[in-house]
């Protein structure tokens, strides 16, 4: 193999192993930042040695062994340092213990280490931004440049966010042990939130005119798949995975050639990715088998699955969707769920039912500048034949949009509401 080939091979192997490497090292040295440095050191060693020695048979184990040697060296040096300052006599033995501990740590299941690292990256002491960034860096293995591009920010900003996050973790004394019981449930919720946040950042870009930054969706899906792989008994992990797989199945269909959004009923279902729908349905079935049918993500996934299963828009089981929203509203009461519930009821039982559920929502302060509210209202009114009111609602929605493609779409719908006579949408 030529040197450049070996280089590429080393870097690729490193990328595959990186998260597990950092995870194992984090358990040993109880410091994410240091673990990352040690992993990088191992990469440097591999880049220096593999071109002459060849790529080892088990490159992952090789990298881990190299990083471990580094870790032990550092620990010994630290101990020596300590001893210089310390009072007489202590602790040659302590140095030994630390080395033994590291050996013991390495024998444990690597999957648990990775899960722990995910728990740490999504630790509630960190801000949501910091959690997202750290997860993309440590678990998904994105470079700082890639993260900066995905979030339309600068590399120094991302780098600083990561440094600060590591410092926060270190200073807060965040435990590196696997959380248990209620704490585990709380921490898992944070992990799921982070993955869904990453997905949504890609699915509905909040800034800029590019409606889809699909690579973030892909990363979130991968994270969800990893999580269900290493935590196979967590129903809500499967619920979340089901939800994002099914939502991602529509990525190709939800934006037209002109960049405008296409609503679900109008999407070309032949463009839906059936492989992802199948994976989503499978994950949902798993969540339900594990007793998680009423989980917040599982319920949302079940709703998405109703669309995924419908071969045409007319086949959509809106009654089931409406009843799933009724349950969702009990599990996670929120104004946004209320609004979606109104939409589902309008489809299942007619626009009057929708308008009736919408009326109280219009009084809610939290929904005052929430674009989907006037957009939905416009739709109900349009279907009721109240075109002038519909037009006003669509225009109000357009005024709230921060996305050019979306705004154009809403203005188009407003324009389709001729004041006097019904106009069909093209």
């Amino acid at each position: 193999m030529a040197d450049t080939d070996i280089h590429r091979s080393v870097e690729t192997v490193f990328r595959i192993e990186q998260a597990r490497l950092i995870a194992g090292l984090t358990r040993m040295v109880r410091d994410v930042g240091l673990a990352e440095e040690l992993a990088q050191d191992a990469l440097v060693t591999a880049l220096a040695e593999w071109p002459s020695s060849g790529v080892p048979d088990n490159p992952g184990a090789w990298l881990m062994a190299a990083a471990r040697r580094r870790a032990i060296d550092r620990l010994r040096r630290a101990k020596m340092q300590e001893r210089k300052h310390a009072e007489i006599g202590r602790d040659l033995d302590e140095g030994r213990d630390a080395v033994d501990q590291i050996d013991a740590a390495l024998d444990d299941d690597i999957g648990d280490d990775l899960l722990n690292l995910i728990f740490i990256a999504c630790h509630p002491v960190l801000s949501p931004d910091a959690r997202v960034t750290l997860t993309l860096r440590l678990i998904a293995g994105l470079s700082i440049a890639e993260i900066a591009r995905a979030f339309l920010t600068t590399e120094p900003t991302v780098a600083q966010r990561i440094t600060r996050a590591k410092k926060t973790l270190q200073e807060s004394g965040a435990a590196y042990e696997a959380p248990r019981g209620e704490e585990r449930a709380r921490r898992l919720t944070s992990v799921l939130e982070v993955i869904y946040l990453i997905f949504n950042e890609g699915y509905a870009a909040t800034a800029g005119d590019d409606l889809i930054r699909a690579d973030l969706c892909t990363e979130a899906q991968r994270l969800g798949r990893i999580l269900t792989g290493i935590a196979p008994h967590e129903p809500e992990a499967f619920g979340l995975l089901a939800l994002i797989e099914i939502q991602a199945s529509r990525l190709k269909a939800r934006v037209g050639p002109d960049g405008a959004a296409i609503t679900l009923p109008e999407q070309n279902r032949a463009l839906w990715d059936q492989l992802l729908i199948g994976r989503g349905l499978e994950a949902l079935a798993r969540a339900e088998t594990l007793g998680g049918a009423d989980g917040a993500y599982a319920l949302q996934a079940a709703i998405a699955a109703c669309h995924g299963r419908a071969r045409t828009a007319a086949d959509t089981d809106w009654r089931r969707i409406a009843s799933l929203y009724d349950r969702l509203q009990e599990v996670i009461p929120s104004a946004v769920v209320d609004l979606n519930r109104a939409v589902a009821h309008s489809m299942a039982f007619g626009h009057e039912a929708g308008l009736a559920l919408l009326a109280p929502l219009e009084q809610q302060e939290i929904l005052r500048d929430y674009l989907p509210l006037p957009a939905a209202k416009g739709d109900f009114l349009y279907r009721a034949g109240r075109y002038a009111e519909a037009r006003a609602a669509f225009e109000a929605a357009a005024a709230l949009s921060r996305n050019a493609a979306e705004r154009n779409f809403l203005l188009k719908r407003a324009a389709a509401c001729g004041p006097a006579r019904p106009v069909t949408l093209e």
Partner: protein, 119 residues
């Protein structure tokens, strides 16, 4: 990027040889590794080409031919669909796969057309 990873057929796979439990189990472990790395989207094995059909298209004509098909080395015996960062990652994963056949064999990796390729 999404890739299709194709296990090429061999004389053995074409001869209806059922896989041994040990091989199935080892392949299961490899699939497990792929799954935990978030790489695996789907995987399946195809029955020998003797159970297959070909439909030839020429203008408006459609001609159906029954298997088996001769060129065993070029047939597909099984496949995975993976989501990977790039071809290099796919190559590294394939290198970790056990030899899927009793004798010498080949696995082919082919990138799949994606939305962004048409943008």
């Amino acid at each position: 990027m999404r890739v299709m990873v194709i296990v090429k057929a061999t004389q053995d796979s074409e001869n209806m040889g059922k896989p041994k439990a040990a091989d199935l189990a080892e392949m299961g472990r490899f699939n497990d590794e792929l799954r935990k790395a978030g790489v695996l989207l789907t995987a399946d094995g195809l029955k020998p080409s003797s159970t297959g059909k070909r439909v030839a298209f020429d203008g408006a004509k459609r001609t159906v031919t029954d298997g088996p098909f001769a060129e065993s080395r070029e047939l597909v015996a099984g496949f995975w669909i993976w989501e990977v960062k790039d071809m290099a990652e796919a190559v590294e994963w394939v290198k970790r796969c056990l030899n899927p056949m009793p004798g010498p064999s080949e696995i082919e990796i082919r990138p799949i057309w994606e939305m962004s390729d048409f943008a």
